[in-house]
């Protein structure tokens, strides 16, 4: 009896703690939503449902922030970065883990240097190099450096996945005379699908949320990523709270929807990514 009531008691206090934490996590977003529905150029209260919700603000913000162009641009940058970066990281991870590549140790050591490197540490020379390549202001200015910057994490991620891969099948295939490419295609790659898809999710997030590179390397906000464009939008409409909040929510929405859709994979990927 007493054991039972203490379990119930624990269950309730657990729920209370979790609900409090959840509220803290969504409060800023709720506050933005109520402000987004207030009349434009007014000073809405921090959190109160407006008497006459102005859903039209979202339409105005869509036009004001030029969101059609911004989303198209983000998708192009993601398509330029993610497939190439995942393919390169997978190939390199496989090479370093499974094939005895000369200088493999040196490559590992070189990549380790980049693992904790803040992007800001490279932005100054990157700007001048991209400019002398004549790429400044184009989407390549973000795509190419970002692929390079994602390599250390990606290669280590895929390498550790291939290091723990099973060896019996591989050995059997070698005896049958399979070459490294066949072993990779037919045995190792299918086994690595979970690691590859997790890496795809992480790279997608890193690209979609990227702010510094587009800010510095692409002048025209409509050619940047969504995050880069959001910063410019704040600069222009900082005083029009309703419009700013509506625009921000529209820009957040796709990441949120993608996250909720793939939430199981997202959480697992982020937790795995963290522990490795």
């Amino acid at each position: 009896m007493s054991a039972g009531s203490s379990t119930v008691h624990q269950g309730i206090s657990r729920a209370v703690i979790l609900v409090a934490l959840m509220l803290f996590a969504v409060l800023p977003l709720l506050s933005m939503l109520t402000a987004a529905l207030a009349p434009q150029n007014s000073t809405p209260p921090g959190l109160a449902w407006p008497e006459d919700p102005q859903w039209n603000n979202f339409v105005d913000a869509w036009t004001a922030a030029n969101l059609s162009a911004l989303f198209r641009s983000s998708v192009l940058i993601v398509l330029g970065v993610v497939p190439a970066a995942v393919a390169m990281a997978t190939a390199a991870g496989y090479g370093l883990a499974q094939l005895n590549i000369p200088g493999g140790k040196l490559v590992n050591a070189l990549l380790l240097v980049g693992l904790t490197l803040p992007f800001e540490a490279l932005i100054t020379p990157l700007y001048y190099n991209i400019r002398s390549m004549g790429l400044l202001g184009t989407r390549w200015a973000v795509i190419l450096p970002l692929i390079g910057l994602l390599m250390p994490f990606g290669v280590f991620w895929m390498r550790s996945s291939f290091l723990t891969a099973e060896t019996a099948l591989t050995e059997a295939a070698k005896i049958d005379g399979a070459n490294p490419w066949q072993i990779f295609r037919q045995i190792q790659l299918p086994l690595a699908v979970p690691a590859v898809s997790a890496l795809t999710i992480l790279f997608f997030l890193a690209t979609w949320n990227q702010y510094l590179l587009p800010l510095v390397l692409i002048d025209d906000p409509t050619m940047r990523t969504v995050a880069g464009g959001l910063g410019a939008f704040q600069g222009e409409h900082g005083t029009n709270i309703a419009l700013l909040c509506a625009g921000s929510l529209l820009i957040i929405a796709p990441s949120l929807i993608v996250f909720l859709f793939f939430q199981r994979h997202f959480v697992r990927a982020l937790l795995q990514g963290a522990v490795k």
Binding site: F24, G46, M88, L205, I241, V267
Partner: protein, 278 residues
């Protein structure tokens, strides 16, 4: 062959610019005219120019908010809840707690700029409980701007740390807790004897990721305060950006950039060792 594409991209866009940063750091250059050798001047300035040294100090203060508080609170929460059982409510909790980590940090910056504004939710809450006298424009306040930026970082880190620590505590062998209880350990003793050692790896991971986020913060600060008021919330990331693109002091920016990269390594090193040590 296998490694070449990754290695080429990495060399061209990371290793080579890193080398250039080191080289630039010994020159005085405005980005247009000829560069003149400056010896160690740029490096000395990091410690003697209050604005530069202050940005480094601020980055360390942010570690309290980005790392120390979320990890401590996450530990307390994890040991109170012990495990996230399977179930709709717990899945929902996990998802909601993760939201701050998934949004662009820029969006977090905008949301919290609104929260901290004169009419924002923070002041509204203070007025509601009769603390009208405490209300202010938090991000424009010389004393409170840095802690306010810290709160944004705290919000970004907390859910991630909590979920990671919860998933870690679920993996601790329950028999360890029973053994501790049989030995007469209270909740506090149990926490130090079982939970803390059992979560060593997860704590190290949380601390590593959030410390890097604190030292290398850029997005949130650039959106919320741009380093101001004055230089109260200036951090190395924003200062590097300002020095390069607003003040045209390329050499100085490069020295700070290399210093920041080294600083991150230096701070992460001991955390990693604690995590590995069994």
């Amino acid at each position: 062959m296998w490694v070449a594409p990754a290695l080429i991209m990495y060399s061209v866009f990371v290793l080579y610019p890193l080398g250039q940063s080191v080289q630039f750091s010994f020159y005085k250059w405005d980005g247009i005219g000829p560069a003149t050798p400056a010896g160690l001047d740029n490096w000395r300035a990091i410690f003697t120019e209050p604005e530069l040294f202050g940005s480094v100090i601020n980055a360390f203060i942010l570690i309290i908010f980005y790392t120390a508080l979320p990890v401590s609170l996450g530990l307390v929460t994890a040991s109170l809840i012990r495990e996230l059982r399977v179930g709709t409510f717990n899945t929902a909790a996990r998802v909601v707690l993760f939201i701050p980590q998934v949004l662009p940090p820029v969006a977090a910056g905008i949301a919290w700029t609104w929260m901290f504004s004169t009419e924002g939710l923070v002041n509204q809450a203070l007025r509601a409980v009769g603390l009208e006298s405490l209300t202010r424009a938090w991000l424009g306040d010389f004393t409170f701007a840095l802690p306010a930026v810290g709160v944004i970082g705290f919000w970004l880190s907390l859910g991630f740390c909590t979920v990671l620590l919860l998933s870690g505590i679920g993996k601790i062998d329950p028999s360890l807790y029973e053994a501790a209880r049989l030995d007469g350990a209270g909740r506090i003793a149990e926490f130090f004897a079982v939970t803390l050692p059992g979560l060593r790896q997860e704590i190290a991971v949380c601390a590593t990721i959030t410390t890097i986020a604190a030292l290398a913060s850029f997005d949130v600060v650039q959106i919320a305060t741009q380093g101001g008021p004055g230089y109260q919330t200036m951090v190395p990331g924003v200062e590097i950006y300002r020095l390069t693109f607003l003040e045209q002091r390329i050499g100085q920016a490069s020295a700070l950039a290399v210093f920041l990269a080294a600083l991150v390594l230096l701070v992460i090193w001991p955390i990693q060792r604690i995590g590995r040590h069994e």
